[in-house]
Symmetry: C2
Subunit: 383 residues, 2 copies
Amino acid sequence: MSNTFTITHEDKNTGARTGILHTPHGDIQTPVFMPVGTQAVVKTLDQTDLKNLGAEIILANTYHLHLRPGENLIASKGGLHKFMNWPGPILTDSGGFQVFSLGLQKEIKGDNKEKLVKITEDGVEFRSHLDGSKHFFTPEEAINIQHKLGADIIMAFDECTPDSAPKKYAEEAMERTHRWAKRCLQQHKKLKTKPLLFGIIQGGNHQTLREQSARVIAGMNFDGIAIGGESIGYNMSATDKILDWVLPLIPTEKARYTMGVGLSPADLLAVVEKGVDMFDCVAPTRLARHGMFLINNTKNKYRLNIGNKQYQTDDAPIDKNCACSTCQNYSRAYLHHLFQANEMTGMRLATIHNLHFMLNLMKQARKAIMKDKFREFKNKFAE
Amino acid sequence: MSNTFTITHEDKNTGARTGILHTPHGDIQTPVFMPVGTQAVVKTLDQTDLKNLGAEIILANTYHLHLRPGENLIASKGGLHKFMNWPGPILTDSGGFQVFSLGLQKEIKGDNKEKLVKITEDGVEFRSHLDGSKHFFTPEEAINIQHKLGADIIMAFDECTPDSAPKKYAEEAMERTHRWAKRCLQQHKKLKTKPLLFGIIQGGNHQTLREQSARVIAGMNFDGIAIGGESIGYNMSATDKILDWVLPLIPTEKARYTMGVGLSPADLLAVVEKGVDMFDCVAPTRLARHGMFLINNTKNKYRLNIGNKQYQTDDAPIDKNCACSTCQNYSRAYLHHLFQANEMTGMRLATIHNLHFMLNLMKQARKAIMKDKFREFKNKFAE
C-alpha cells in the first residue's frame, strides 16, 4: 500500500476531505484542480504565469507529446520539468482518452473506414492527427513514454469506452483495461524512475461493470485511483451515479481522481462533496480563449461573456472581489475591446482569470472542509 | 519654441545625441524605440509585460482606435492611459499613413474603382477596413480625435505620398500637407489638453520637395519634427538620402522622429548616427509572431528563425547574454516546440525577447553616445 497520500481532515457532514499528495516534485494540497498543459504549455500562459497563479500541479498529454516533440527528445532534455521550465509536479495521462476521441466511437459502430484506431489485446494502433503516420501504443509503451517524459504522476493505459457502446462491448473493453492495468503495473516496477502510478476505473454507465471495475482496480497496487469514461465531467448526473457506485469500493486512503471534471465550477464542488481529491478539465482555459470569464454567479452557468455589448462601456473589473492580475489591472470595457479586436492578449488575460477562479475556489473549499463547513460553502456558491 | 526636449549630450564624432523628451506622462530617454500598440495593446503582451520590459513610451493608432472602440468611448474612460492601464507616455499617429496604405496608391494611379480613399482640400474620405462604413478625416478632426484619446505626443494629419507618385502629384500633396499642418496647429491651440504636437515632413524621394517641406514644417511651431513617407524605414538607402537633405534644415533643439524605422536593428543605429531621436516599427513584434528572434548577428539580417530544424534539440537560450525573461527561462528547443505546436505562448515569449532586444540596443546606444563612442558601438554591432 502506498503512503503517498495523507488525509489531513475529513468533513463531518459530507464525504469531502483535505489531503496532501506527495510527489517527486513536491506536495500538492487536495482537493486540487489541475490546469491542462496538453503540449507542455498551458495555452497562452508561460511558467511564470503559472507560478504567479499558485498552480501546484499541471497536466500534460502523452499522446500529443509522443507525436510532437517526442518523449525521447524530452527525455534527452532532462524530462518535461526541465524542457518546459516548470519545477512543480506534472501529471501525464496515458493517451487512452485521445485514442477514444480520435476514432474509437467509429471503430465500435463499425464505420471506422479510415481505420484511425485499431484495438487488439496487445494494444492500440492509431494514426497521428498531425501527419497520418501510424503509431502503436501497448500498455508497456504508454508506461515507458510517461517515464521518459518524467512526470510525477502517470496513468495506466486504458480504453475509454463511449457510453453508446453496447454493454457486451463495454464489458470486454473493461476486462481488457483490467488486463492492461496489470501489465502497466508490471512494466512500471521494472523502470528506474519512480512516479506515482494511478489506475483507472472504466465500465461505462453500467452499475455492475463499474462496481466490478472498482473492485479490480482498487485491488491492485496503484498509488491512486482514477475514474474515467466519456460521461465523467461531461454528464454530471451520470458522474454522480458512477461515483456513488464506485467510491464505497475504493480504499479511503487512496487519492481519487475524476478525469475531465470542471466544465462548470459547480461540478468541482459536486465531486469534492463525494470525496474526490483531484480533477482536471480543459474548459476553464478553452472558455477563456472564447471570451468566457468564470464568475461567482449561477446565471449563465457561472460565465460572463465579455463579447456582450453591455460590457463595451463597463468600467468594472470582471469580478471586483477577484485578486487575479487581470481583475486588478483591467476593466470589462478594455477586455471587451481586446476580444472585439481579436487580440491574443485578451485570451491570456482571460486564461489567467479563469485559472485563478478555479484554483481559488479549491483553496476556499479546502478551508471550508477544515472547518467542517463544506456543505454550507457549496450551497452558498450555488446561490 | 518648445522646451519639451533637452539634449543631454552630443556625440563628438557623429550626429548622434542623447536627450530627454518631457511629456505629460513622464520623461523619455532618447534615442528611443517605441513599441507599437496599434489597437491599444502591444500584440500578445499586457501592460505588466511592458513595465517589466522597461518600455518608456508606446504607440497607438488613431485610425484603428477611431474605428474601434472609438475615441469617444476611450475619452469617456478617462483616455487611453486609463483605458489600457498604461501609465507611461503614449504617441498616436494621425491616421495619415493608414489612409495611404488603405488605398491612396490606387487613387493616384486612377484605378481606385472601389473609391476606398478620396482626398480633397478639406480632408480624406475613406472606408473602414472592418465594415466598409464611410469616414471623413479633416486635419481638425484628426487633432480632435488624438486629444480625445489623451495621447502625450500627437501627430499632424498628413498625406503620405507613395514613392511611385509623379513629382507633380507629390508636390501638390506636400503643399496640401503643409496647409493641413497649419490647420492642425490652429486646432491644437483651441483645445484644452496639452499633448506635444509633431509636424511631418513629406515630399517623396525628391530632394527639392523634401528640402522645401523641411523648411516649411521646421518653420512652424511644432514640438517635434517627424520625417514621413513610404521609403522611411522600408528603403534605408532612400531614408539615408532623405535624412541628409532634411536634417540640416531642422532646428537642432527639436526632437526628430523617423516614422517606421526599425525593420532591422541596424537601421536604428543608422538613423541615430544622423541625429534622429525617435522611431517606431511593427517589425520586431510582427517578426516575433512568425518565430523570428532578433539576435546580435549580422547573418540572416539579425534574425534567428526558431522554426529551423537545427533548434529542435538546442539547449541554449536564444542569446546567452540576453537578460530578457524569455532567455532567462526557456531553451531554443522549447521555443521551437511551441512554434511547431502553434502555441500562442511562443509568440508572446518571442515578442518579449524582440522588444527587449530593441530597447536594450537603444540603452547601449545612449551609453555609447554619452562616451562619444557611438561610431565604435555601431561598427561593432555590424561585425
